[in-house]
Subunit: 223 residues, 2 copies
């Protein structure tokens, strides 16, 4: 059995969970609180990040991009990176958009301040400057997501791909704290409803952090 | 002819330059000062980042990872990602190490504060708190680089790969400001000398920023 070390609110862990499910690869999950800096976990991944995937033969993989590329190579069906080099470049560009730019400008400011700090037991509450920056940035990113979803069936083109998975992983973490202004972006909302309805995505919608319930619409397909 | 939009001190641009040279693909370079937010460049890449690669047929590629994976697909010789899925996962893990963790903890703090701010004409000089954080972090990263280079011929194993290119791209930007403590890490220094001696790397060593010359050892193979 594969083992995935993950954390509930980590979008990079969510991405790997969805990819494993899309490819129908069985796995068990272990929650890793990286801020506890467990020596056994540091031995698996000196970067002390989740996700980490341990293969049935004991091989250890770290870095969510490395893991997802690996899974697409060993289990090509369904393909999640696209059918030719230019499509794959567009898929990977959008993965980078959400995992570097969106993560830095939105996820760290909002999910980091509101959820991760609390999980880690850091006193003092969210930094209001970061919250304001996150709220300003998410609208710009939703404009771009709206622009894409008005023009394409899925984010990178005609096929569901790693770009949809990466984007939805970040948005689902933000949706858990009710911070996505879906109403102003109907095409993006329609796209997210289609992602939510996929069997691979459903397990994420039943995640509940102890003491921090999600808003009601979080798990609804019709939100 | 391919066109690469880049900036001299951007490690992600440096990585693409080296990959193009390793694969013997001809290209011309255009310096893009992204802080000027040129509308023509934003139309090529709404993330307003370098590098951007424009193919001879007009196809536009952004995001350095997307570009490098694309180049390895269209020109597999020499292979820069490794020979099997687990090796490729290790190459990509190390690329992620340098481009996410090292970049955040070292490059942004030192190259960002000392070089990029000055290039952008931001007054006030470097933030001393960031400089201190960068100096502390680079020693921890050099410990890890030392550990790797004492055990492996190249960073991800027996073959020169994208991991060496990503790491050397960041280290070369830091070396331009004399901030790499090579003397304390002889195995890492020996590895970097071998990277420097590759024909693909030589053009980077003649880069000179106007008004900010590199230290003498920057271009020497025997440093």
């Amino acid at each position: 059995m594969r083992t995935l070390y993950h954390h509930w609110v980590c979008p990079f862990s969510r991405k790997v969970r969805i990819v494993l499910a899309e490819k129908k690869l069985a796995f068990e999950m272990v929650v890793e609180k990286v801020w506890e800096q467990r020596p056994e976990f540091l031995a698996l991944n000196p970067a002390n990040d989740v996700p980490v995937l341990v293969e049935p033969n004991g091989a250890v993989l770290a870095d969510s991009t490395a893991i997802c590329e690996y899974l697409d190579e060993i289990q090509p069906d369904p393909p999640l990176l696209g059918s030719d080099p230019l499509v794959r470049a567009e898929v990977r560009r959008l993965v980078g958009w959400f995992e570097v730019k969106f993560n830095r400008e939105v996820t760290i400011n909002l999910v980091g301040e509101k959820l991760v700090k609390r999980q880690m037991g850091i006193p003092g509450g969210p930094d209001s400057r970061m919250i304001r920056a996150g709220y300003a940035a998410i609208r710009l990113h939703m404009d771009y997501l709206g622009w894409l979803t008005e023009r394409r069936r899925w984010l990178a083109g005609d096929a569901f791909s790693m770009a949809d998975i990466a984007a939805a992983s970040h948005l689902s973490a933000l949706d858990y704290i009710g911070d996505v202004p879906w109403e102003s972006f109907p095409a993006a909302k329609d796209w997210y409803a289609r992602v939510k309805s996929r069997p691979s995505f459903r397990p994420l919608l039943s995640d509940h952090l102890p003491g921090i319930p999600p808003p009601k619409h979080y798990a609804y397909l019709d939100f």
